[in-house]
Assembly symmetry: C2
Homo-oligomer: 352 residues x 2
């Protein structure tokens, strides 16, 4: 029976600190000093130890390290205080992890605050200093917030931004999507779903002042301009993520333009947008693309009112934030590929 199978192992043999000490010709105490950046070691010795670690690609045994350090780790999630379904989902997914968390002696705390007021958010962040090993924050890009983040980082706290980034800060990691690419994806979808037809395309956003919305619109327009010359993009409607306002604005627009063939809803207010479209009896003719999979968008997709939703998986974001904070705290490498949040295109048949 020809088996013809090769086998190939993917891991190094398990060395311990003792082996490294012997390799480097020093004592365990010195290796420990080097490993934890403790003072009192000659630069030359540091080098020798680090070389020995490199040479053997030594990895400290996570379990042993975790057990030895004793105290549990504390992470804080700083989230918007309003009733935001997306944020509630993130919180729910963190709840589902509770067994996973406690088996690792991790404590995750939710801190709700007004993330849209820079000074309040900054103050919230300041109060966390020292108490936590890591902080995940849905941040506004503002100088005060940036400073607060940098202070946390300087105090040794690991910081990841969640959903909305503050690239100018020294945060360790960003867990969220590339919003320009998300907008481009939406544009490509609307354009393709419209098909041969030419006509106008409407955009409903919360506000162009929000970084993520602005970026999405930018990406959307980019694709429209370069690839779908037959489509004209109408000025952005600012619905402030509210259902009523979005509905009114869109209803008026639909009334004025009989040749609207595409619609991009950048933020929330989806209920209102869908209502305006249905009430006008145009939900079947207009290619409608929005964001996020919620109970509402799920229903709209199934009904055929909405054609596609651009989604960032909230469960993935919650877990990625925790994993990244943990890896940072432990000094482990981050699996970039794993922690990257993808832009999901969700249509009726691949609804999760």
């Amino acid at each position: 029976m020809a088996q013809e199978s090769y086998s190939d192992t993917l891991t190094a043999t398990a060395l311990t600190l003792k082996d490294i000490a012997r390799e480097a010709g020093v004592s365990l105490a010195t290796v420990d000093r080097v490993l934890h950046n403790r003072p009192g070691v000659r630069p030359d010795t540091v080098r020798r130890v680090k070389e020995a670690i490199e040479r053997n690609s030594f990895q400290p045994h996570v379990a042993a390290a975790e057990l030895a350090r004793g105290r549990a780790r504390r992470f804080a999630f700083v989230m918007p205080s309003g009733p935001n379904p997306f944020m509630q989902q993130i919180e729910a997914y963190l709840g589902e992890m509770s067994a996973w968390l406690s088996a690792r002696r991790l404590a995750v705390e939710m801190v709700a605050t007004d993330v849209f007021d820079p000074s309040v958010l900054a103050a919230s962040l300041e109060t966390l200093s020292g108490d936590y090993d890591g902080v995940a924050v849905v941040a506004l890009d503002h100088p005060g917030v940036r400073a607060a983040i940098n202070d946390l980082v300087d105090a040794g706290t690991k910081v990841v931004t969640l959903v909305s980034d503050v690239p100018s800060s020294r945060r360790h990691h960003y867990v969220g999507i590339d919003n320009i690419a998300a907008g481009r994806t939406a544009g490509a979808l609307v354009g393709r779903l419209v098909g041969q037809r030419s006509g106008k395309v409407a955009i409903v956003a919360g506000s162009q002042g929000l970084r993520d919305h602005a970026e999405r619109i930018f990406g959307f327009n980019q694709v429209m301009a370069s690839e779908f010359p037959g489509l004209t993009v109408l000025p952005v409607l600012e619905g402030r993520d509210e259902d009523e306002r979005s509905e009114q604005l869109l209803a008026r627009l639909l009334g004025r333009h009989a040749d609207i063939v595409g619609l991009y809803n950048v933020g929330a207010g989806t209920q209102g947008v869908a209502k305006a479209l249905s009430d006008a009896g145009r939900d079947k003719q207009v290619a409608f693309v929005g964001h996020d999979v919620t109970a509402l968008t799920r229903r709209l997709l199934l009904q055929g009112v909405m054609d596609a939703a651009i989604s960032q998986n909230p469960g993935h974001e919650a877990r990625a934030a925790v994993r990244v904070l943990l890896a940072l705290a432990r000094g482990e490498p981050i699996l970039r590929e794993q922690e990257k949040i993808r832009i999901d295109i969700v249509m009726r048949d691949n609804l999760p």
Copy 2:
């Protein structure tokens, strides 16, 4: 400065086995016996201990448990021996995890074998028995294979099927996508991308004997029949996942039918399919949907030859398989939501 923030902790306090022993009014040794299903404990005592564990929602400290058990865990990945790009990607992603693996003292070994020959595959699986704590296998659904899997499970090895499932076996978990849903998604995409036009749709598959291909075709036809009555699906071309054969078959079909507006490539052989389409000068008129993001499909998407790829993230599959095996081996709960493989729709603008 109104802070208005509440805080809410998500983890229980950390109890140890000693606490459980005191709670249950027994010794540490007895708790240990119960926890590991060792014999010699009265049913009544077992109940008391388990109640104490439940009552306090006790979670064994993963790190301590891992450290105490000493020996490392070994997992085997049984994969097709041919030069399959998808499988190579899985292998590559496992390689990227090597630091993560060795920090946890996990050894992952690749076993290449002819997974398309049931007896060879079954024999391969049999040889693994006893040597591994867990096995991930790209399996063929066949009685012999099923039996081999069940034997492994009976021997205490944790088994997950990868990419292709054997639902009739007693494998602990399946890491992969729902192929019927994938086919439905492809159908919806082709239908939507074709737009108003009516005409014919071609399908190129490896073989209808492969379970995943058959399921995809089934889902595809389902959607076509119910939702796109204007489109006629032509008989499936069986390209055996080979470029040349696929090209020839498709070229002939294109020659015979001038009104082909959609194309679904179910498996590999993508190179040939694309060539036939381009050579006929019809790549812009035909809505072309295929599977998997590889160097080739990436290029075709960017060129506009291919319109969308249905993808199952190989990196995610590799990591999910490892995590699931690890959780099973440790007796930890599996984060279903995390390990579920989603059906990704990849178009030019959300290429990962």
